[in-house]
Symmetry: C2
Subunit: 168 residues, 2 copies
Amino acid sequence: MSVSVPKEPDDTLTIGDVVRRTGVAASALHYYEQLGLIAAHRSAGNQRRYPRHMIRRISLILVAKRLGIGLADVREVFATLPMETVPTVRDWQRVSRRWHTRLEDRKREIEQLERELTGCIGCGCLSMTVCQLLNPEDELGAQGPGPRRLGLSADRRVRQRRELDVLQ
Amino acid sequence: MSVSVPKEPDDTLTIGDVVRRTGVAASALHYYEQLGLIAAHRSAGNQRRYPRHMIRRISLILVAKRLGIGLADVREVFATLPMETVPTVRDWQRVSRRWHTRLEDRKREIEQLERELTGCIGCGCLSMTVCQLLNPEDELGAQGPGPRRLGLSADRRVRQRRELDVLQ
DNA sequence: GGAGGAGCTGAAGTGGGCTTGAGATCAGGC
DNA sequence: GCCTGATCTCAAGCCCACTTCAGCTCCTCC
């Protein structure tokens, strides 16, 4: 805003520049701005002018997407990062460690599923004897009226949390 | 339909039974039916009556969900399974192997990300020297006008399909 | 035979992460 | 000064996997 640094033309990027450099569509950038994930100064004619370091924020958003992290969560993390300046190495380490943990959780989840699935291939699960994946109806029925569910709720995000609950 | 087996009351399940046994909401079952993933006979009063083996299909849908597989893909796989009878061990092995492959792909993806992220934590990426994750703008800029993107497509589903395309 | 819970249909709503469209303004090269 | 392409805003639309709702019928038990 009232930064004393004079804005030279090379100092900032137009939205088109950012689109070309990141591959993120202008409409997505608008959307991220709406969510408060990124910000831009405006030209005299009300056009967005991005400081160069904003590219890094956008890169982080893209990383988060690859990690399967929702924008709401990204927002939370970004709330701790400076919007007007380049984040420090410490900032980045904090974020990347946090996301690394997430990643490991997801990996553990997948490995669990993999074990179950591998077991199933071997055991010929359709006989429904000891399969963990295809929870047999008969056992369910035999367990009485208590609703022993398969433990999978509707929403993906909720589901992931549940599985984490189970695994930890 | 014109199956000669007499329908004894115990032979089929009401939608409520299925809900209790699988934990899947009735509305979701309606939806799956709409998509052709499951089917039910109807009572004289137009109520759904599920053959017992339909529980297995539903279990498979739940497994697919845990694997992050979309219903469209499930549908594709289900097209090769018998709707009116219990699938064979071979059928199940085919499906589970297919999904197992998927799972491994996803795991490899995560491991790749993990490596990148770990590397980044160590290298202090904010200096933007050799980071694979935070693709430095300067390098991009130095590479000339060619749109060297970050290589991350918009949609998760599209991305998954892309990966399949690449891997198969 | 009556009460009340279970089930039916079709349409609309939800949420995340955007895209598309309309209609207008801005920026920069000739 | 003009033309063209870039950009602006706001609203609406889209896809997926469901859920919710309204208004009605069915089934079971007493």
